[in-house]
């Protein structure tokens, strides 16, 4: 009952948030104040001098780079920024090279605190019941020491760590469970379920090799591996359905689910297929013709009928963000920081 209520609340907040960015047809809702309220946060992984966050206004006109340094002079976010997760108006920015999470106000980017101990190559995080759960790769030459750090979001101290037993990468929450992708950098084939009641790994599900992305959508967990998309029931933790990858595409990555559509990439092209399909489409929406082998689709996201692409170029010059319509028309192109790897919508 309690969780059901929470789900309703989350859905409600989510819909408010979505409406907020869609400012055409609504009068100004009651919103938090801040320079970075109306638009998209772009996380730039950075080179050996540290990473940064850029902000793109919702009309795609204005871009501000290094907004954290703008608000907090003489401060930095750390080396190799990996991802951001949120809790209400707090944003948690993970630097995997500095074993650091910077906590900022999501809309003003004022620094609120840091998590600077108990982390070892932190990757992704999620907040559930007042705790942040952050995956850590630990030593690069071992996948047996990867763990989830459980952080009190008030004290910002690591309270407990849970060994995952495999690679710890993406993490999502569903009810009181967390699902952890045990695959990174194109290697690995498992998802683990972590129960927050017992703080232990309760089950592991094996998929095909090359597992690279997963997303929770409409009460289902969708995962993309070398065979295609697997639809997983998060309650029973079993594969319900498989949407196979077309033969013509060598590899498919970056699964996103939005408006009952799968979006994914292959090479330098973006594809879409309805979630009801039996096979993924092999016809691309657009090919953005990047010349960067490793840095193409370094960041990829779909939101509000817009497709966001981050291109890292040669990693030694500033990266590019391109925003496309859902049908593949280029809306804007902006130069951001080094290696833009992810997008977050306010």
């Amino acid at each position: 009952m309690n969780t059901y209520f929470k789900f309703i609340m989350i859905s409600f907040f989510a819909s408010v948030m979505l409406s907020c960015t869609n400012d055409d047809d609504l009068t100004e809702p009651l919103v938090p104040d801040g320079d970075y309220f109306n638009g998209t946060l772009i996380l730039n992984e950075g080179g050996s001098a540290g990473g940064s966050v850029s902000f793109l206004s919702s009309d795609f006109q204005d871009l501000s780079n290094s907004i954290y340094e703008e608000v907090n002079p003489d401060e930095g976010l750390g080396l190799y920024l990996q991802s951001i997760f949120f809790d209400d108006d707090k944003a948690f920015i993970i630097a995997n090279g500095s074993n650091l999470i910077s906590v900022v106000n999501r809309y003003t980017f004022e620094k609120l605190g840091t998590v600077d101990s108990g982390l070892s190559v932190p990757r992704y995080g999620v907040v559930l019941n007042g705790k942040a759960y952050v995956t850590n790769l630990a030593a690069f030459d071992s996948d047996q020491d990867d763990y989830v750090a459980i952080i009190d979001i008030e004290t910002l101290g690591v309270e407990e760590t849970v060994l995952v037993g495999g690679v710890a990468e993406h993490i999502v929450s569903y009810n009181d469970d967390l699902f952890i992708q045990n695959a990174a950098f194109g290697f690995g084939n498992q998802i683990s379920r972590l129960s927050t009641a017992s703080n232990s790994i309760t089950e592991t599900l094996t998929l095909a090799a090359g597992l690279n992305s997963m997303q929770l959508y409409n009460q289902s967990l969708y995962a993309l591996d070398s065979e295609g998309v697997k639809k997983i029931d998060p309650s029973t933790f079993t594969v319900e359905n498989q949407i196979s990858k077309p033969e013509s595409l060598e590899s498919v990555t970056n699964l996103r689910v939005e408006n009952d559509q799968f979006y994914y990439t292959s090479g330098t092209s973006v594809f879409a297929s309805p979630v009801s399909a039996t096979q993924l489409s092999s016809e691309f929406i657009f090919d953005y013709g990047s010349t960067s082998t490793f840095g193409s689709f370094y960041g990829f996201e779909v939101s509000q009928n817009r497709i966001y692409v981050g291109d890292a170029g040669d990693f030694a010059s500033n990266g590019t963000v391109l925003v496309y319509s859902i049908t593949g028309e280029l809306i804007t192109e902006k130069t951001v920081g080094i290696a833009p790897n992810s997008f977050y919508f306010q």
């Binding site: 080179g47 540290g50 930095g76 080396l79 074993n99 500033n318």
Partner: protein
């Protein structure tokens, strides 16, 4: 007046079309140096020499000495951390460091970290801008740095002890001893340099963390004259470095780096009236260990060993000097991430020099044969023409190379054995004006360098980073160098000044390479009266781009640093010399690599005693 104007016009012309050099003045009669080519076969090029007194009076490492006294730009990851040179706009692997005639750039990454060499134990450093692969092999593209030990047979015994204390708990000590008689000569130097290196980052509230280091260096040279014609010489150096790498953010994993290198050279020289025969055997061992997180040490390391045999024959016939060189080089490496492999290189070189009236000309060739990669035919041609006692012009043209390193060839899963060496075609010309007594000397050098097949690590189609011969770079520029000496009664003034203008463009994109300043200048003035001397230095580095696409917002700003020192000698107390020095007087906040602040104002006190 008319003459000097004409000289200036001429100077500009020659400078624009090429490249130039300064000759060092050396007394070779009583001093014995094993790098015989640097002085005999540098026609068309300039050689700058830094004496042992400069080396002993400069606090710090090779980086500190060279950035003040040469046009080379160094980028450092914070003071004392990894230091890479850009010599005439070239890459870090394109500067050769030569120890007593042998190239000692790392077998792994092809470069020398200039903060892992202590210089106060050496007797001389020579810097020769421009190509030098014909004699010194790989990497002599931007120029070469020659670390030299000298041996004397003059029967004197010397002992020097120096102790220096500086800000940030910095300590530097040197013990140097030499003795000789008619048959034997022995020289020994032991130096130590350590620092907590915990300086405050100027203009911020932060401090340099995890940057302490402790380095030891030992040099031993020993020679024995067997008879009038034969001499056996041994040179050895040992370096032991223990260094932490400074943190960008306090929560970064604290990493550290250890390196232990030792090098040995044994030489047998037979000297007859017109022929000198020299056989050299050398053994180099380089070892490093990198600890990514010292709290949970899991070091990765590697060792490379090189055995070398070089035979060289010098022959003088009438106005000709010949040198035939043949060399065999066997290197092997093993360690984490690098496959256990070996590489053999055989090389042959012929150097010829001819004197005719006021014209000296030189033509040299080198061909290498390797069991791994194809080597280009290398050459060098030089001319010196002495118009008068006051004016000399020089020109040099050469083809040089940089061979693929063990990392390029054998990195686990990435190395490629089908790489080509980087090659450079270059041209330089100089005009040198000098006053008869050499009290004043002014030189201008123009240089041009076309470098192709640059090796860069790029991701391949399966997203693995691999080395590839992808880039082409064109560099050109101008160097000006002035030295002046005045004496008015008891007052002595020494002034030196250098300026370098450097363009280094990626040929595909037209952008200036990152971390290559277009302008650099340094000045130094020393005033001496009796036992007292004061010294003032400055150093200006122009802005550098930090992004390959030269985006205007991403630069390191230019800076001007001032240093000053004074010293006093007590001749009655064994020539005790006490000196004090302040660096970065203006407390300027500057960086040579993005987000790697360098120290603000800091101090040294030194005592030096000679027996």
């Amino acid at each position: 007046m008319k003459y000097s104007l004409r000289f200036c016009v001429l100077a500009c012309f020659v400078t624009l079309s090429g490249y130039a050099q300064l000759d060092s003045i050396q007394r070779l009669d009583e001093v014995f140096v094993v790098d015989r080519q640097i002085n005999r076969f540098s026609t068309g090029q300039l050689v700058f020499t830094l004496s042992s007194s400069i080396l002993r009076d400069s606090p710090g490492t090779l980086t500190d000495v060279l950035q003040q006294n040469t046009p080379i730009f160094f980028k450092q990851n914070g003071y004392g951390m990894v230091s890479s040179p850009a010599f005439r706009g070239t890459t870090a692997q394109q500067t050769a460091v030569v120890w007593n005639g042998f190239n000692i750039n790392s077998q792994f990454n092809g470069q020398t970290d200039f903060n892992t060499l202590l210089v106060d134990g050496f007797d001389e450093i020579s810097v020769r801008p421009g190509g030098g692969s014909v004699v010194y092999g790989t990497g002599a593209i931007g120029g070469s740095i020659h670390l030299t030990n000298r041996l004397r047979f003059d029967g004197e015994t010397n002992l020097t002890f120096s102790a220096r204390i500086g800000s940030f708990s910095t300590y530097q000590n040197l013990l140097k001893a030499s003795t000789s008689n008619e048959k034997w000569s022995l020289s020994f130097a032991l130096s130590r340099f350590s620092s907590e290196n915990d300086y405050d980052w100027p203009g911020t509230s932060r401090q340099n963390l995890n940057a302490e280091f402790e380095h030891y260096n030992a040099n031993l040279s020993l020679a024995r004259k067997l008879n009038q014609n034969n001499k056996i010489t041994y040179y050895g150096m040992y370096f032991d470095g223990d260094r932490n790498f400074s943190l960008l953010f306090p929560s970064d994993p604290p990493s550290s780096y250890l390196n232990k290198d030792h090098r040995h050279l044994l030489e047998w020289e037979s000297e007859f009236s017109e022929v000198t025969s020299v056989l050299k055997l050398a053994f180099f061992d380089e070892y490093f260990e990198y600890i990514p997180d010292s709290r949970t040490p899991s070091p990765t390391g590697a060792r490379a060993q090189t055995a070398l045999a070089r035979y060289s024959l010098f022959y003088s016939y009438k106005d000709f000097d010949f040198n035939v060189l043949s060399e065999y080089n066997y290197s092997s490496a093993n360690g984490d991430n690098v496959l256990s492999e070996s590489r053999s290189i055989a090389s042959f070189a012929l150097l010829t020099k001819h004197h005719w009236k006021k014209l000296t000309s030189e033509v040299s060739f080198r061909q290498e044969y390797s069991d791994v990669y194809e080597s280009p035919f290398l050459f060098s041609g030089g001319l010196n023409y002495e118009f008068s006692k006051n004016l000399t012009t020089k020109a040099n043209i050469s083809k040089n190379f940089r061979i693929p390193t063990f990392n390029d060839l054998y990195w686990e899963g990435s190395g490629r054995t089908d790489l080509l060496p980087e090659t450079s075609n270059q041209l330089e010309a100089s005009v040198v004006f000098s006053e008869v007594e050499n009290k004043h000397q002014l030189s201008f050098t123009g240089h041009y360098n076309d470098i192709t097949n640059l090796i860069r690590w790029v991701p391949n189609s399966t997203n693995t980073w691999q080395p590839e011969n992808v880039d082409a770079v064109e560099t050109y520029g101008l160097e000006a160098h002035l030295t002046s000496r005045f004496e008015w009664g008891m007052h002595n003034f020494n002034f030196s000044s250098l300026y370098a203008y450097t363009i280094s463009e990626n040929k595909q994109t037209g952008f200036q390479l990152t971390y290559v300043p277009k302008h650099k200048f340094t000045n130094e003035l020393t005033y001496k009266i009796n036992r007292f001397s004061v010294n003032l230095q400055n150093l200006y580095n122009g802005e550098v781009f930090t992004r390959t696409n030269n985006s205007p917002g991403d630069i390191l700003e230019d800076y001007l640093l001032w240093n000053a020192g004074m010293s006093f000698k007590f001749p009655k107390l064994q020539n005790l010399k006490i000196s004090a020095r302040v660096r970065n007087i203006g407390d300027v906040a500057y960086q040579t690599i993005e987000n790697r602040p360098m120290p603000g104002r800091h101090f040294f006190i030194q005592t030096l005693i000679n027996f």
